[in-house]
Amino acid sequence: MGEVLVLVDHVDGAVRKPALELLTLARRIGEPSAVLLGAGAAAAELAVKLGEFGAATVYTADAAEFGEFLVVPKVDALEQIAGAGSPVAVLVTSSGEGKEVAARLALRLGSGVITDAVDVTAGDGGPVATQSAFAASFSTTSRVSRGVPVITVKPNAVGPEAAPAAGAVQAVAVEFGAAASGTRVVSRTARVSTGRPELTEAAIVVSGGRGVGAAEGFGVVEELADSLGAAVGASRAAVDAGWYPHSNQVGQTGKQVSPQLYIANGISGAIQHRAGMQTSKTIVAVNKDAEAPIFELADYGVVGDLFAVLPQLTAEIKARKG
């Protein structure tokens, strides 16, 4: 079976869940190898984890360039690793950076690139990617017809499954090209963790929109989220008003989420918001306007004031959970 390179997304010395999902998908189309860049002293420990989820080889590279410059150092590393072997595909997590890395890599390899796959399966002519189009109103299947398929995959495309493999570490010394130092990262401020699950990875997302009325109004949304162990999302209207951080925005220009349960509170359901949540398994809406378009896609809706409905719901959940 051919080698499938998986670029590993990691943070604070831990592998992020989407990387384990990619390894799980990679096993369908070949033998996964992980590419771990800039993990520092944590690399050995991370490699064990990656091995547990099916990585036969873990290529590690460490260099200041990965942190000091934008995107290109990672492209250089992947290009070098891909060039030293003969991979049958490269999988990368769909994030702003992941997509940029994937596209530049594809161009260098003379390969086609597919972004934002929600599923990847084995096909006769190589991997087949499923994508959502036009605010998730269409589903498409595509494949790369030239070169080594480079595919970016959205979080939650598959549940990570352990499948022990060697996880043999192979250190790589990357030779960076001139372009690698083109864009300097002058400073980096990590987002403070809220202790809640990552928005794109959460099984349940509770969101608030303009109907929440004020930054303080998000209190009832957060309390509901915490009673369910959920992540908190926001509509662009709530973000633009300054009530909630942009990193929590759900929609076309925010995060695209696909949880088991999405609860929209005080959100009308504009097409751009739907683009980010329409593929959720179950959708629940609370809105005081019975005509709000969000009810057209909700599996269950409550027409009412969120400031009455949410606290009652939260209290009931806490009571039931004991």
Partner: protein, 261 residues
């Protein structure tokens, strides 16, 4: 010499209308209403602000698209851009992102540039990779996904709000930047702007002009193939209850029945 800014803008199907695929699995651009991608308005806006701050700059808008794409150029010109370039050729139909970046890069080499400004993503394809591909092809730095951008002398700086962190970036011109919808509301064209736009020059190029062979673009030249498209079953409305004082508890009942509690 004055700062040469080129903004890449795309003409896209209106997201609030009906969007669909044509029989050859390409985005249907003929039988639907189109407009300047709303996310590219942010690119035009930032280009204009940079030009205003510099005092000596020229803003060109560039599109690759069918005849109607001239509407996107007109809109950008009426916002205040100085001139436009329209790359239009039958053979471009069906081009994938690798090909589109080739055509844009060749056009940019032709016009010349110090700063290329893009939107964060097109609202139809939503890939968000053209800016990175342009930087790769043109051999200049990419300073992308910026919620804040400024140019001082020959240095471009910006703030990138990434998934896990906020980064401050810096690069030397020439460079490619892309800006997000957090970068600042785009201006509305004024009446004066709309009138003035009618007299602004629009230069047309076809593939020959840019030295690109027909086989390098189009469906046949694409490095990806869309095998099938299917309309997703529309979500249907489920149960809707009116809160008469029990709405929260009723919802809890539903969530429990669905095993979420």
């Amino acid at each position: 010499m004055s700062l040469r800014i080129v903004v890449c803008v795309k003409y896209v199907p209106d997201a609030t209308g009906d969007r669909r695929f044509a029989d050859d699995n390409t985005t249907d651009r003929d039988s639907v209403d189109g407009l300047l991608s709303e996310l590219d308005e942010y690119g035009v806006e930032q280009a204009l602000r940079i030009a205003e701050a510099s005092g000596d700059a020229e803003v060109t808008v560039l599109t690759v698209g069918p005849d109607d794409a001239k509407d996107a150029l007109r809109k950008a010109l009426s916002m205040g851009a100085d001139k436009a370039v329209h790359v239009n050729d039958e053979d471009i139909h069906g081009t994938d992102v690798i090909g589109t970046s080739l055509v844009l890069a060749k056009a940019l080499e032709r016009t010349g540039f110090d700063l290329v400004v893009c939107g964060m993503a097109s609202t139809d394809g939503t890939m968000g990779v053209v800016p990175a591909l342009l930087a790769e092809r043109l051999g200049v730095p990419q300073v992308t996904l910026l919620s804040e951008v400024s140019v001082e002398g020959t240095v471009v700086r910006g703030r990138r709000d990434g998934d896990g962190a906020t980064e401050l970036l810096e690069a030397s011109l020439p460079a490619v930047v892309s800006v997000t919808d957090q970068s600042g509301e785009a201006r509305y064209p004024s009446f004066k702007g709309i009138m003035a736009a009618k007299k602004k020059p629009v230069q047309g190029f076809d593939l020959d002009d840019l030295g690109i062979g027909a086989e390098e673009v189009g469906l046949a030249g694409a490095w990806t193939v869309v095998d099938a498209v299917a309309a997703r079953a529309a979500r249907t409305a489920g149960t809707v209850v009116k809160d008469e004082g029990e709405g929260g508890r009723q919802l809890a009942e539903y969530l429990a029945a669905q095993k979420f509690i």
